[in-house]
Amino acid sequence: MTVRDTTTKLSDVAYREMLDLIRDGTWATKSRLPSENEMAASFGVSRPVIRQALARLREEGLISSRRGSGSFVTRTPTSESQFPSITSIADITSLAKYREGIESESAALAAERRSEEQLERLTAFSACPQGGTSEEGADRDFDFHMEVATASGNPFYINTLLSLREQVRICMNLTWNIAVVSADFTETVNREHRTILETIRDGDPERARSAMRKHIHDSHARLMRGRPLG
């Protein structure tokens, strides 16, 4: 096992312990977390491990950090997600494969059922703005996927994607962070979203299914290459 693997495993443990402290109110909402040195001492791990665990809490929106004044609890986690959290590259791949299945199916249903109003919303959300921050890009990206699920009219597809929000956002944040320097990346995502939009607008379930499957597959491939394009 490499040093990096060990650090990752330790930070998973620290992350879960911190999550429990937030959940049971020991670390109450709005309260300030102990310093990194204090946490390192009380969890019996190094500061890099603590920082990695904190980064994950921050990514999930449970804490916010301000330079010089430490970290604060922003909210308590909602009920235990029905799905496992992302803790490794393997989880990211599993999630992508799962999404290929469910989101391609909800895109096909959306092509059969979408109302005019839903089509308008899909159109409005299909383009991620050029020159925005990676956060804005990822926000809009998720919104579009959520709109497709909504247009399926099936509460199981809608709720499933909602329950996966945190996990999907972690992956999208990674992708958009890698890509933020590239205008071509935004254009690529927009082009793929536009294709999905067109197939749903045309009421073509088979093409909607394959367009969504390809989009999720290609996005995952881009993330795994660590390069936005090419």
Binding site: F83, E100, E105, N154, F156, Y157, T160
Partner: protein
């Protein structure tokens, strides 16, 4: 559409994909488990027991053979709704439970064969077809006008 219909529609997407992934990733151990789930179901049916748990166990074994935690978790979360659909699919109406049970087991064998062959497309199709037929066989409970000719119904 009601909850049961939506649930079948969701299962067609999720379990179809799980079966395809299972065909690509199944181990020897998974195949033994699937086979055991099929013979358990048959033993229970032969004894006149059309319980939900045995049928569900097969579906869960397929999801586990996908080696992707998101698939079995979906099924476990939906267990109560799936139970309702499965009970109606086997409940007496039209055909006798023995015939319905035999049809369900034959469809499970189709799925199993696709997975063993490593044929992802075939396994996906077999699972989708199985769930679609189960869905169709419960539609009359909603008072829908469903033609339940033997051939169309497939049961």
């Amino acid at each position: 559409m009601n909850t049961r219909a939506h649930c079948f529609e969701f299962r067609i997407g999720v379990e179809g994909e799980a079966a395809a992934a299972a065909a690509l990733h199944r181990t020897r151990h998974d195949m033994i488990r699937l086979k055991a789930a099929m013979s358990d179901l048959e033993a229970h049916h032969k004894a006149g027991d059309y319980s939900f748990e045995m049928d569900f166990a097969f579906h869960l074994a397929v999801a586990q053979a996908a080696h992707n935690p998101y698939f079995p978790r979906s099924l476990e979360t939906l267990r109560p709704v799936i139970r309702q659909g499965m009970l109606l699919a086997i409940s007496p109406s039209g055909l006798a439970p023995e015939q319905k049970g035999a049809a369900i087991r034959e469809q499970h064998r189709d799925i199993y064969r696709g997975i063993v062959r490593g044929d992802d497309t075939g396994a996906r199709l077999a699972m989708r077809r199985h769930l679609l037929r189960c869905h169709q066989s419960t539609m009359h409970w909603d008072g829908a006008e469903v033609e339940t000719g033997l051939e169309e119904q497939g049961y």
